[in-house]
Amino acid sequence: MNLHAVRAIYKFEMARTFRTLLQSVVSPVLSTSLYFVVFGGAIGSRIAEIDGVTYGAFIVPGLIMLSLLTQSISNASFGIYFPKFIGTIYELLSAPVSSLEIVIGYVGAAATKSAMLGLITLATAAFFVPLHIEHPVWMLAFLFLTCITFSLFGFIIGIWARNFEQLQLIPLLIVTPLAFLGGSFYSIDMLPPLWRTISLANPVVYLVSGFRWSFFGTADVGIQISLAITLLFLVACLAIVTWIFRTGYRLKN
């Protein structure tokens, strides 16, 4: 294992994060605050408690999940797309590093950043609503698992994308709708039966549900199923990444 290389990639990527730290931190704090003013304060006061949890508290896990998904994907996809775009990828391709080391470096850095932002979102939320976390260890486990899985997903998008439009395309067209329809702001039990069934095809439902369970001890779907689906997605992403490096897909001529 070329640990020097893993460390070099990780440090280099984190340096990029810290260069833009202020804007990285300001935006989740701001958007979280806005969500709380609108959903928690204005609308939430007219919504009944869900499973004994006030609406303001209820949306916290969903909000954090939303930020984890979008941040993980955008950090990781940009992290690998950028060297491809400016051409510095030549160095990575000619270095004595394995695909596993590349992935650990890039995905690790992207996941670290989004986990940091997720925790900042959590801290901001705690400022608006009193929070009690039922299963803190599970909460962190779900948080990191989500960061890693979706950073891997973002990494794949970054390798696949040939231009900046494509880089934005999947997050915009697929991830954001799935995240909003995944029960971030409501319990899928509140939906009519047909839509509830359709929602079960949305992987984000399981992430949000599992994450919410770690906060409140109640969930839309069983915690085992949530965990299983998340791990399944992780394995699928790993399989695709392995295939990419084996074939040199969009990396090597």
Binding site: A5, Y90, E91, V97, K252, N253
Partner: protein, 308 residues
Amino acid sequence: MQPIVSISDVSKTYATGFEALKHVTLDIHKGEIFALLGPNGAGKTTLISIICGIVRASTGRVIADGHDIIGEYRQARFKIGLVPQELTTDAFETVWATVTHSRGLFGRSSNPAYIEKVLKDLSLWDKKDSKIMTLSGGMKRRVMIAKALSHEPTILFLDEPTAGVDVELRRDMWNLVRSLRESGVTIILTTHYIDEAEEMADRVGVINKGEIILVEEKKALMRKLGKKEITLELAKALDRIPDALAHHKLDLSADGHELTYSYDTQGERTGITTLLHDLAEAGIRFRDLNTKQSSLEEIFVNLVRERS
């Protein structure tokens, strides 16, 4: 002698169907400076990219320092440094950060003293804390060289290191390459400046349309092709070469006005003295005389033209 890089039967067909390399076989000797010459699109960059792991060969295999570049890519790449043709650097990083990063990427533990030496050798030391985007093109190229040297490679590829570089930096570059060679580094460079190959290389390879058409010791090449010619412009046209001069292997031009004599500059006797003596004896007078030596450039142009 065991070659340090051994390329055997390497071909490359790009996804477009274009055949950029055709059965290239080539050995690079340890410690030499090898110049790869060829016109635009000949396949120089493709060949280098394959050896460095950036492009996949369609067929064939490459051994670098005893390691297969695919099967034992770690050991092979650890030894190799590459300065690519295109200027591609980070923009927002400092010189120091980017060079240190390269060293780590190639699996070396950090060694600030060595990085300092590399930067000083390349006259980049006073720029070490500057962001790369604030540097001039020539300095960026030096940063790329520093990155390639950061992990102390023993095989160095320089893909057109002096393209778009001013005379002074070119001299610096040549000196750097020589001192690297003295420290035991094998250097493979491509260039369009024939004088550069002439000045620097131990051996020269010519590639055209994906095929290696010549590999030769530069000295031998210069000797073989470095024939010199004397052309004598005659005062009076001759219809044939007089018998008295027959043993001199002269060529008479069609109009009878010029006599051409070829000789080897490296030979022990050029035969010029006797030729001039015999000419005087035969009563042949000439108005003018000029000599001409073929340069590597002409050799190269002729070779490439012959093949196309």
